[in-house]
């Protein structure tokens, strides 16, 4: 019987991504059902120290200069090998710019079933159930994790990073990477984030604009509100993709994780890719015309109104007071 759980640790430039700890927390729960061990897979060059606080039973550390920077082909080939050697019950990867493509490549090349966007798992008489998030978080889907070996990609939200960390360093087994074949991808250079005029990750009050703002010129109503109250404007992805605000203002999965005292949203639906960036906010206040918008599920206060009606009134009152 396959029972161990492999967890692919994600790290970029010397830092373990939070999702890795969440995956370990999930894997701990999976391993309890399968009565196996949690084996964390760390791939890189000169990064053994990153294994130190992983709450895994063992860390398999693949050390190779060709693994120094992520590329999908070296990760896929390394994992193909490790899966053959370890015959795990499941391989857990992030539903991220690293894990997602590796999981799909592996699924096709090694003919292994794949369940993506897993939020949580639960054990049921030896078999394991997944709960996945789809349709922008508006729907959840459940089913059994395919046997005997399954690839799983995880989204944040179901587990806490703290539960995947440990103060006792795990056993680290250093192993050689496989002989890589037909590598077609090479990393040229990193491009640093635009340094913006402000650092939205340290602002106490953020006014976040979403697609509900409709036009570039309308950003002004958010700017005016921000000025009246002493906050800073940030945005969801569609607004930044339109070029209406710089990347330095982007909040979410591909942007920044923010942790303001107050996060006020104007016309943001609350898609999971956005909300994963705002989980650390103390209080979320949402203004949206759609009473069923998912943002109201995580906001403390909600207003179902048109931003173009409400925001000018609010700004005016703030300016008066």
């Amino acid at each position: 019987m396959n029972k161990d759980i492999l967890v692919v640790i994600e790290h970029i430039r010397g830092e373990v991504a939070d999702i890795s700890y969440m995956m370990i927390a999930a894997a701990r729960q999976l391993a309890e059902t399968t009565e196996g061990e949690v084996l964390a897979v760390l791939m890189g060059s000169g990064i053994e120290n990153l294994a130190g606080n992983l709450a895994a039973d063992k860390v398999i550390y693949l050390e190779d200069p060709q693994l120094a920077n992520f590329t999908s082909d070296t990760y896929q080939q390394s994992l193909e090998n490790l899966i053959r050697e370890n015959n795990p019950r499941a391989v857990v990867l992030g539903h991220t710019s690293i894990g997602m493509e590796v999981a799909s490549l592996l699924s096709a090349k090694s003919d292994l079933p794949l369940v993506s966007s897993c939020l949580s798992f639960s054990g049921e008489n030896g078999s394991v159930k997944f709960t996945s998030q789809l349709y922008g978080g508006k729907i959840l889907a459940e089913g059994l994790i395919p046997e005997p070996i399954a690839l799983l990609t995880m989204v944040p939200g179901g587990y806490k990073p703290e539960d995947g960390q440990s103060s006792t360093p795990p056993l680290v087994i250093t192993a050689a990477a496989p002989q890589f074949a037909d590598l077609e991808i090479s990393v040229k250079q990193y491009i640093e984030p635009e340094t913006g005029d402000v650092d939205i990750t340290s602002e106490p009050l953020l006014i976040a604009v979403g697609r509900g703002i409709q036009l570039e010129d309308n950003i002004e109503i958010a700017e005016e509100l921000a000025e009246a109250i002493g906050g800073v404007v940030c945005a969801s992805r569609p607004v930044v993709d339109q070029g209406w605000l710089p990347t330095s203002r982007l909040v979410g999965k591909s942007g920044y994780q923010v942790k303001p005292k107050v996060y006020l949203t104007l016309g943001i639906s609350g898609a999971p890719e956005h909300t994963e960036g705002i989980a650390g906010s103390e209080t979320i206040i949402a203004i949206n015309t759609d009473p069923a918008a998912p943002i109201f599920n995580i906001a403390k206060y909600g207003v179902v109104e048109d931003i173009f009606d409400l925001v000018p009134v609010l700004t005016e009152k703030l300016e008066e007071s």
Binding site: A17, M100, L105, V115, S116, I191, Y301, G302
Partner: protein, 254 residues
Amino acid sequence: MNIVVLAKLIPDLVEELEIDDSGTALDMTWLRLIINELDDHAIEEAILLKERTGANVTVLAPDIEGVDDILFTAAAKGAERLIKIVGDYESGVNNHALARVLTPVMKDLQPDLILVGVEAHEDLDGSIGPLLAGYLDLPFIGYVASIELEDGKATATKEYPGGLSVEMEVTLPVVLGIQVAEEPPRYVAVSKVRQAMKTAEIEELEAGDFDLAGGPTIDRMYQPEVSEGATIIDGSLDDIADSLIGIFKELGVQ
């Protein structure tokens, strides 16, 4: 240079989603389908590359209601070849099945570059881009935000969180998963789309049987329960504004 773009129609999230009687799938009866926004970006990127390099652009899509519109719109933007994959989509299809169907099609089309939106919000068995790359034995780079083509190679900028990106070089042919095009997808006038309907031709290819192996079976689909939703503030605009200011004061940000 041949570029093939994959596009598909998915439920518009602006609409209310309902589960059907089986309890394991969306009720599609009244559902409005729209092009996957990221596929729209993939089409835009292909057209931008065509404008820069003179490449040929083929757009390929599953034959789901509304597909002609998205194909003709692509033609109006500059795609020269339109193909729809005809098959029995009603009984369910997943990305593994689609990628298997597309594998021989791609071997025929011989693209130098395959572009596809990096994911779609309905995917439960991984993304079609890397699955197809796996079956075709081609390299894959996802979360791509810009592409340069030169001497049989592509340089793609891949996005990581926090505004960091990385430039990767890859030999063609390659499959790239597009996160965002270099320019927002262009708007085309309805008259141009109508023109394309008259002049462009949509080729049809048979999908044959779908092999769903590789994806999970869904036992239950449901809307997430809200543990403790937001406290809704209502009243006149004046009242709401006053309440909000009260809350800001209480929270110490005003």
